[in-house]
């Protein structure tokens, strides 16, 4: 592990009963790149992402984010260390407005004291206005600023995905995990998403992208990791991966046969 490695995972293993969903995965992600994790259905992509974010802990292994060991840490502690994520099956806060959804994450590293809320102290009002500013900025980056006051449930599907990215962004993360961000999006929406990912990379955020759509991944990623049956079978640049016979057999090959 070098100083420039922001995610360093060693021997990450996750079992569901008799099924080994992740089998001693090692993963190094250098700072500031877009790294994709691809693989057929059930290969362990989302499980890996859940292990990294703490949503569903690994059974064994070591995970360091920016040098800090986060294995078995509660998800909110991992979030406060600068790791944010989105979900494959969208999880927005239905009973909050679009802006409030983002504000939840913008409050990430600002402790609230009940006494400050009661008295509406100067410190509290300052913190709330900082949160508001950060949330609006995140919405503007994603292009949802004009929907700020709508109820989150009023957004169409693709914009809900964007809202999740805005929410993740509002916590000012160093690492952003995107779980199938283009799922259910049409061509135009996917292209806009790619622009957004490029923009976030330009801000120095390291992005780990789990994607089903291989073509989408190849264009945007600096490095690609391929999982199959919970094992890492290949890693490299997109062109290396496209030429790798193991990958073609496990993933692209099977796909071509169906097509």
């Amino acid at each position: 592990m070098t100083a420039d490695t922001i995610i360093a995972a060693r021997g990450v293993t996750r079992r569901f009963g008799g099924l080994v969903a992740l089998d001693a995965i090692d993963l190094d992600v250098p700072k500031g790149i877009v790294q994709a994790v691809i693989g057929p259905n059930g290969s362990g992509k989302t499980t890996l992402l859940n292990a990294l974010s703490g949503a569903s802990h690994a059974d064994a292994g070591s995970i360091r984010i920016g040098g800090e060991e986060i294995f078995r840490l509660k998800p909110h502690r991992i979030a406060r260390l600068g790791l944010a994520r989105t979900f494959q099956n969208i999880r927005i806060f239905d009973n909050l407005s679009v802006l409030e959804n983002v504000k939840v994450a913008a409050a990430c590293n600002r402790p609230t004291r009940f006494f400050d809320i009661l008295t509406s102290s100067a410190r509290h009002r300052q913190s709330e206005s900082d949160i508001d500013l950060a949330a609006r900025e995140a919405l503007a980056t994603i292009g949802l600023a004009q929907r700020a006051d709508d109820r989150a449930t009023q957004l169409p599907y693709a914009q809900r995905r964007l809202l999740e990215i805005a929410r993740a962004l509002a916590s000012k993360p160093n690492v952003l995990l995107l779980d199938e961000p283009a799922a259910g999006m049409n061509m135009t929406e996917s292209m806009t998403l790619l622009d957004t990912i490029a923009k976030l990379k330009g801000r120095g955020i390291t992005i780990l992208l789990v994607e089903h759509n291989v073509r989408l991944v190849m264009g945007i990623s600096d490095r690609v990791t391929v999982l199959d049956f919970g094992k890492k079978i290949a890693e490299g640049t997109p062109s290396e991966i496209q030429r790798n016979p193991l990958v073609i057999e496990a993933y692209l090959g099977r796909r071509h046969r169906h097509a």
């Binding site: 509660k74 909110h76 979900f87 909050l96 994450a105 509290h124 709330e128 929410r167």
Partner: protein, 315 residues
Amino acid sequence: MRLEPTSWPILAAGVAATLAIPLITQDGYIIQLLNIAILNAIVVLGLNFVTGWAGQINFGQAAFYGLGAYTTAIASKAGLPWITTPLLSAVVVIAASLMLGLPTMRLRTYYLAMTTIGFGEIIRLIIVHWEPVTGGTSGLRAIPGISVFGVGPQGQAQHYYLLVAALALAVTVAMRVRRSALGRAMIATRDSEIAAEQSGVDTTRTKLLAFMIGAVYAGLAGCLYASSIRFISPDSFSGTQAILLMTMLIVGGMGSIAGSIGGAIALTLLPEALRFLGQWYLVLYGLGVIAVIVLAPGGLASVASLSQWRRAGVR
């Protein structure tokens, strides 16, 4: 939650009507009933933090109500000055809510509901069986009234104004919490615990805080109940009462401040208004509650906000 400029006249009219009630009716019974309705509204507002916002089913709210009432009754009958009783009640319910909340806030849905039912039963049994202190099933009478350095409300009407002021304070605190990071964290926890956690929300702490704030609302309402009604008995804080409080929240509208108040007042007054029906009042009452739940699952508050949206659509 944002108040539209158009809703200010409605609010002003509501406040004026509320303050005018004791001038219109001199009937002590009606005012007494309204006083109980206001106290219930404060307890349901407290329940709204835990259940309406943080999404945790809590059937222990009546027990916290009772703990506050009995703490106040026992302390003031023992000769402690009234001014100490809100503090004592708050300390007792905070301690009890921590004892119940710390181990149970990791539980979910049915398990938490069952634990809080058990807690309510334990408190009720203690009240019933610890006769020398609590008066057992016959309760405690002649509880000293509210008095701060010899000054206190006299008669039903003055108590009414005092309780309206207490409710206004309870609403102010609830609105401040709703507009703060804590309020948003509570609602986020209800909507998706995992997404809230991954956004940096400590959901266990958030649920515990909601639970404690709710308990303090109930405890302080209990304190005011004991020293303004001046008679308490275990029936007022039983499991049936806990279910009634939950019904008030559901009928009024989960997560809505106005709904919590509306539900509490409607369901406190309705049985009395339907008394002329004799035994049949329960049938009508039950049908009314079912009608609201079926026709407006979001409660009375959702009916109000729906008509607001329609108006916005026309504009």
